[in-house]
Structure formats: structure tokens, C-alpha cells
């Protein structure tokens, strides 16, 4: 448990609290479902509370959509598709998407604060990454809206119809943008279900759609838990499924869609290897390891949760990594200096803690930083498991928290084989000064996204998706656009 850092950061110059103001945001006590351009309660009248994980206090009551609500939403999306959105000239559709992008950029501060309140992520991330990137996705796809024939030369692209989209709680607004922007640009209408622990920014996005005058029914937001999601994805009136979430749920979706002919994209779990060779820029690799696993409290499907480090530099690197972890500030998500915020929910914290027990039970060496999380709220200190092997559960299973396993390797082939020896294949990282080794490793890793000498970098133009149990299909870039189109004669989507 104790820190082994000779530089002793524990008594460092303490930064005074620098909380981002919440005066400028408006949250209602109650949110309805956003169907056909209007907010309305669920038919059942049921609601559930969405909690601020940093205070454990409710932020708002949100409607719990049942089957009849989902049916209304799909019907609204169908009517908007048939009568308004798909007949509309593509350039006009593009204008609406540009408006959403601009409005989101203009209201970035408000969205960032709500994202951090509802989900627990540090304001530094929601302000600098989530919201700007969400806006960038709308900007990027808006540009394609009237150029689809040129995006897929030789094809006759046409929209699919009503897209049913279910998104997770780790990047609530960003995932909504990843789903909605390409769907609308391709000429589809959508019904989107945000995660039950983080519905607020999707509902604010619904308000924003009203504000920019998006025609009713083009975007519909239904809130609820897994039952609502199942009702949506099982609805006979949908033409496309897009899901981001756990591999287990992804498997159920695949099973239920088998034989229906409904196209789907699934972004599922990951257990990415971050490989550090002996000639790596060590200090920057330490930084990349930290960004790889502690970004968004480790609630990242492409997190670099398995560190593979050359035995030649393992000791030095670990010493530096521990020193760096000691300087991370774990605390109030709204404080501008917070590096690691709150775990998204009590349930997720329990799950992470269960894995901490499993790891210790398996005999791994357990280390946590000298960080001091607040007393209330759901927090987990950044954690290392060293002295682990491929056969350990903490190495095999996705923990989805600030927990890094550390293994050593001796040769290139050993590193590659260990990296690939997992049912997942979403992302990976390579750290070396040698260009040829970067190319060799990146081409031999079976993972959808591989970063070299950096980690967790995202851009709307770059496709994102997994091998094996990490998913089916790609989001982002032209690949992400194709997933919302019937490409006609030339290509299969």
C-alpha cells in the first residue's frame, strides 16, 4: 500500500481548490422522453433518479421508457424519415448537422459541467476532450452529408432508415455524437438510448436539437435501463442497430438479430496491451501509460489496461510510473486540477473492488498511489498489479477501472504473442524509438486501433473498432459513414 517513491510527492505544494462554476447551467428536476421533437413523460409515468457519483446525490428524475414509449419513438423516427429527412436535399441536411456542431461548440462549457456532474469524469477531460470531440464529429459528418456519392465512388449510397442506437456511460455525449452524426449525415433518423447512469447530456442534446430547429422525429431520445435498450433493439421497425457497451450484451444483440438481416455495428470491450520496448522514450512512455489507463478513471473500452514492458527497463520504468501516479490528483470532478474523478456508479465501484480482491487472491503484488480521494462519493485510487501472468483473471478480464496489470517480456515475439493472447482486440500501444519496429508490431497486433509512442488519441476522421470479441464494424471516418448506408451495387456496407 505504501508509496516507494524516494522523491516523496505526498507533501507537495498543495493547489487550492479551483472548482468550475455550476452557476451557468440549467438542469430541470424532471426530464421526459424526447419523442417527435417534444419532451413527454413515459406512458407508465415511471421515473428513475440520475446520481452525481461525486456526491451520491440525485441530480434529476428521468423518465423510464417502456415498450409503448419505444414504439412511439420508432414510429416518430419512421415518419420523419419517410416524410421529412430522407426527401430533404442532402445539402439542407448538412446545414442542420453543422448547426448542431456549432451550437454544441458554443455551449461547450455548459455541456462539460453537466457531463462531469452526471458521470464523474474530471472537468479537464470533459472540457478539453469529450465536448470538443463531440462537436468535431458533427462538423466532420456534416461535411459529408451532400458528398456521399463522392465518398463512395462507383456506389449508389442510400440511407438505411431508422437507426436504433444504444450507448454506454463512459463518454455519454461523445458516444451520442459518434452515433447520431454519421446516421443523420447518411440520411437516417435515429432513436437513441443513453445509459441509465448518464442520461443528462443526451437530454440536453435533445434540447439543443429543438433550439437549432431540427425537424421533429429526426432525433429521438428514450431513457431507461437495459430493458428499454432491449425493447429498442428488438423493435421490428428498425433498420440498423448500433451498440456500444459490454461484450455480453453485444453477444445477446447478435443472437437476437441473427437472420433478421438488420445491419449492426457493435463496439464492445477491450483489454489492450501497451508495449514498452527497452529503447522507448521512458519518461514519455510513463506519461502514455498514465493516459492509457487512468484517462476517464479507466472507464475506456480502448484503455491500455495491460502494460507489457521489456524486462531490461522494467524496474526503472515502474519506479517512475509509481512516482508519476503519486502526483495524480484524485478528487472532485469539477475541480480544474483533478486528474482522476469519481467512478461512474456504486455498481461499477463494487465491480472494480471485486477485481481488486480477485487480483490479490491470485497472488499478484498490489500497489496503490498515495492519492487522497474525498470521503464521500465513489472513488478508486489508481492501482497497479505487478507480478502477474497471462493466466491471471485480472490480466484476462476487462475491469473498466483505474487498474493496470504489469507484465514483463524479453523479446519482440513474446510481447506480440502476449498482446494478442486475449479474446479482445480493440486497441494497443507501442513505445520504441525504432520506426521499423513500430511498423512491424502495429501490423502484427490484432487490434483495431494501435497507437505508436502515444495513447488514447481520437479524431473524427479515424475509424475505430475492434477485432474478435471487441466488436463488429467501425465507427468514425468513412468507415463509420458506410455503416449507415446501403452502398448499392459497388460495395457492401
Amino acid at each position: 500500500m505504501s508509496s516507494s517513491n524516494p522523491l516523496a510527492f505526498e507533501q507537495a505544494w498543495q493547489y487550492s481548490p479551483a472548482p468550475e462554476s455550476t452557476d451557468h447551467i440549467q438542469l430541470d428536476e424532471r426530464y421526459g422522453l424526447f419523442i417527435n421533437g417534444e419532451f413527454a413523460p413515459a406512458d407508465s409515468g415511471q421515473t428513475f433518479a440520475t446520481i452525481n457519483p461525486a456526491t451520491e446525490k440525485p441530480l434529476a428524475q428521468v423518465a423510464d421508457a417502456g415498450e409503448s414509449d419505444v414504439d412511439r419513438a420508432v414510429t416518430a423516427a419512421r415518419e420523419a424519415y419517410e416524410n421529412v429527412w430522407s426527401p430533404m436535399p442532402a445539402a439542407e441536411r448538412g446545414k442542420y448537422i453543422f448547426r448542431i456542431a456549432r451550437a454544441l461548440a458554443e455551449r461547450a462549457r455548459e455541456f462539460a459541467v453537466i457531463e462531469s456532474l452526471d458521470g464523474g469524469k474530471p472537468i479537464r477531460e470533459s472540457r478539453d476532450i469529450d465536448i470538443p470531440l463531440a462537436s468535431a464529429h458533427f462538423f466532420y459528418y456534416a461535411g459529408w452529408a451532400d458528398k456521399l456519392d463522392y465518398a463512395f465512388a462507383g456506389c449508389q449510397p442510400s440511407p438505411l432508415g431508422v437507426a436504433a442506437q444504444v450507448i454506454p456511460w463512459n463518454f455519454p455525449l461523445l458516444m451520442a455524437a459518434w452515433k447520431i452524426a454519421p446516421a443523420l449525415a447518411a440520411g437516417n433518423t435515429v432513436v437513441l438510448k443513453p445509459a441509465e447512469t448518464t442520461p443528462l447530456t443526451a437530454l440536453k442534446l435533445a434540447e439543443l436539437c429543438q433550439d437549432v430547429g431540427l425537424p421533429a422525429g429526426v432525433v429521438n431520445i428514450v431513457t431507461g435501463d437495459g430493458d428499454t435498450g432491449a425493447a429498442l433493439l428488438g423493435h421490428p421497425g428498425i433498420d440498423k442497430v448500433a451498440f456500444t457497451g459490454s461484450t455480453n450484451v453485444g453477444r445477446q444483440i447478435m443472437r437476437s438479430l441473427a437472420g433478421t438481416g438488420t445491419p449492426y455495428t457493435l463496439e464492445l470491450g477491450g483489454k489492450a496491451a501497451n508495449i514498452v520496448f527497452e529503447d522507448a522514450p521512458v519518461d514519455q512512455a510513463v506519461e502514455g501509460i498514465v493516459n492509457g489507463i487512468f484517462f476517464n478513471q479507466g472507464h475506456v473500452c480502448c484503455a491500455g489496461s495491460r502494460l507489457l514492458v521489456s524486462e531490461a527497463i522494467a524496474e526503472e520504468l515502474l519506479e517512475k510510473l509509481k512516482a508519476r501516479i503519486d502526483t495524480l490528483i484524485v478528487g472532485d470532478p469539477l475541480d480544474k486540477n483533478t486528474d482522476i474523478g469519481a467512478i461512474n456508479s456504486a455498481a461499477q465501484l463494487a465491480r472494480i473492488e471485486q477485481y481488486l480482491d480477485i487480483g490479490r487472491g491470485e497472488g499478484a503484488d498490489f500497489w496503490q498511489g498515495a492519492n487522497t480521494p474525498p470521503e464521500t462519493g465513489y472513488y478508486c485510487r489508481p492501482t497497479l498489479f505487478t507480478n502477474v501472468a497471462q493466466s491471471n483473471r485480472v490480466v484476462q478480464e476487462e475491469i473498466f477501472g483505474p487498474v493496470l496489470t504489469v507484465q514483463t517480456f524479453r523479446t519482440f515475439n513474446e510481447a506480440r504473442d502476449k498482446a494478442n493472447n486475449t479474446p479482445y482486440g480493440l486497441s494497443g500501444g507501442v513505445w520504441t524509438d525504432k520506426g521499423a519496429r513500430i511498423f512491424k508490431m502495429t501490423s502484427e497486433l490484432r487490434a483495431g486501433v494501435v497507437w505508436a509512442n502515444t495513447f488514447n488519441k481520437f479524431d473524427p476522421t479515424s475509424p475505430f473498432g475492434g477485432y474478435k470479441e471487441s466488436g463488429v464494424g467501425r465507427e468514425g471516418g468513412l468507415h463509420g459513414l458506410a455503416a449507415y448506408l446501403d452502398l448499392g451495387r459497388g460495395m457492401q456496407s
Binding site: 524516494p6 516523496a8 498543495q14 481548490p17 522514450p281 514519455q284 486540477n337 502515444t454
Partner: protein
């Protein structure tokens, strides 16, 4: 001193510039407010090597600078003094006398500052003259020409010799990073200077652009951390040139705080080489106290 050996610089781990820039951006995104800000600003004042290094320097000019060093802004109570006054060797005696028993050190540049293009004997004489005149600290320059030509042994031997000539005076070794061309070279030069016995490593003479930058300073701080982990010996750090506003100085302190920790957060181990930083810090301190900024005319310029 005979046990000092030039390390194999080819074994120094490489530096990735993109990663260094990203880390520096994180330091700059720290929000320093209220008590932490006041603490940081006062700390900054106490770390300044108030500097004048002009061909036009005269005893009169140096005496005025020494007065400023001891009376930063007497209307504000509880201000620390600066750490040192930094001058050419010819001005050391004047500064020594003007500073009296204020506790402020006299630092002198030496070794044919700023170019370092002189025979070793001249550099050693230069250093001894400054020490004999009363310098507490010597800021030497490395032989960049020899370093860039790959003649590391010459650079190393010169530092060892100058360190010997310093006697009890502290030796700061100026790498002149603006002439080294890459962060890898900055790192190698830092490793070399520390191995040769530098008490401090320093970025720049202030005569070459770019002078101190956050990326260069971060790389040097990381070498200091590496050396401490390996040997337990602390080495000081002095970025110099181009740090003229308080906000930037606070970002440098954040960088020290999160790279080396609190043991380095004092003027024994960290200095700013600056001529105009003090007044901007004073302006910020007055603002913290009164709530508004005063015109520059309310702060003495010497």
C-alpha cells in the same frame, strides 16, 4: 575528483518531443488560485537570480540592481528577498559590497560567457577571478562547439576543471539549450554536466533564442530526478531567459512540484534567471491583496 567519469551518452534513453509538449500542456492546465497562488508567487520571488549581463554594465547600474534585490516592494510586508544577483566577473566586487550581509548571494557568469570560445586557462582564470572577488556562485557555459562536434570528453573535462577552480562556490552549468538542436541533445548534455559535478544545471545564457522553455526544462528536471534516484545526490535547476511573467513562473513551479517534489521547491534547488520577472510577480501579489492591478509605474525598475 578523479573518480568522475564521462558516462556513455549513447545509452541515454531517447526523448519524444510530442510527449514532452503534451506533458507541458498538462502543467499549464493546472489552475493555481488563492493561497496556492500567493505561496507560489512569494516562492518565485525568493528563487530569482536578479540579473544584469550587459556590455554597458557599470558599478552604478549594479549597485542599483542590488538595491532592488533588497527592496523588492517595501510597501508589501513579508516579502522574501531574491536569491542572488547575477553579474559579470568585473562587477562581482561591487555587488558583494552593495549586498553586504543581506543574505543575498552574488552569482557571476564565467568561462568566457556567453560563447565559451576561449582557451581553458582563460576560463579557469575567469572563474578564479570571480571567486576571489567574492562570488558565491559561478554560472559557467559549456563548450557547445566541442559538444556538437561529439568531443564530449573535452566538455566533461572542462566542467570538472572549472568545478575545481570554484572551490567553495556553487557551480551552475549553462547548457545553452537553444544551440543544442534537440531534446535528446539537451538530455545528453544534462547527464554529462551532472556527471562532471555540476551543482546546478541551467538552460541558457539569455543571449540566444530560444532561451528557457518548458519542454527543455522538463527534460532537464527529469535527468535530475533520474540522478537522484540512482545516487541520492540532489542537483539544482535554473531556467534562464524568457520567463518574464508570473503566470509562466507558476507553471514552472507546477512542473518542479510534480517532477521533483517538495524537496526542490526552494531557492537552494531551484532558481529563475530573470531580469524583469520580479515586477510582474509583485504586480500579481499586490493584485491578490488589493483586488486590482496597479500601473507599472508603481513598481521600481532598476
Amino acid at each position: 575528483m578523479t573518480d568522475l567519469r564521462l558516462p556513455d551518452l549513447s545509452r541515454v534513453a531517447p526523448v519524444d518531443t510530442v510527449g514532452v509538449d503534451e506533458r507541458c500542456a498538462r502543467f499549464r492546465s493546472r489552475s493555481i488560485k488563492k493561497d496556492a497562488k500567493i505561496q507560489g508567487l512569494k516562492l518565485t520571488l525568493s528563487m530569482i537570480d536578479l540579473t544584469t549581463l550587459e556590455g554597458a554594465d557599470t558599478p552604478g547600474k549594479v549597485r542599483q540592481l542590488c538595491a532592488k534585490a533588497q527592496h523588492l516592494h517595501d510597501r508589501l510586508p513579508d516579502l522574501p528577498n531574491v536569491a542572488a544577483v547575477c553579474v559579470y566577473p568585473t562587477m562581482v566586487a561591487v555587488a558583494r559590497e552593495a549586498l553586504g550581509d543581506s543574505g543575498i548571494n552574488v552569482a557571476s557568469v564565467s568561462t568566457a560567457f556567453p560563447s565559451g570560445q576561449a582557451p581553458l586557462q582563460v576560463k579557469l582564470d575567469d572563474t578564479r577571478a570571480a571567486v576571489d572577488a567574492g562570488a558565491d556562485e559561478i554560472d559557467m557555459v559549456i563548450a557547445r562547439g566541442a559538444f556538437l562536434a561529439g568531443d564530449y570528453q573535452t566538455v566533461f573535462d572542462e566542467i570538472v576543471a572549472v568545478k575545481q577552480a570554484c572551490g567553495d562556490a556553487h557551480l551552475k552549468v549553462i547548457l545553452e539549450t537553444g544551440e543544442l538542436g534537440s531534446l535528446d541533445r539537451v538530455k545528453q548534455a544534462s547527464v554529462l554536466a551532472i556527471a562532471a559535478g555540476a551543482d546546478f544545471i541551467k538552460t541558457s545564457t539569455g543571449k540566444i533564442q530560444p532561451a528557457a522553455t518548458m519542454p527543455v526544462t522538463l527534460v532537464m528536471l527529469q535527468v535530475i530526478a533520474d540522478h537522484f534516484r540512482k545516487t541520492g545526490r540532489m542537483v539544482g535547476m535554473k531556467p534562464a531567459g524568457g520567463i518574464s511573467d508570473a503566470k509562466l513562473a507558476l507553471h514552472y513551479l507546477v512542473m518542479v512540484n510534480e517532477t521533483l517534489g517538495p524537496a526542490w521547491m526552494n531557492n537552494t534547488w531551484f532558481r529563475f534567471g530573470a531580469s524583469s520577472l520580479a515586477n510582474d510577480v509583485l504586480m500579481q501579489l499586490v493584485k491578490q491583496q488589493t483586488g486590482h492591478y496597479q500601473s507599472a509605474d508603481y513598481f521600481s525598475k532598476d
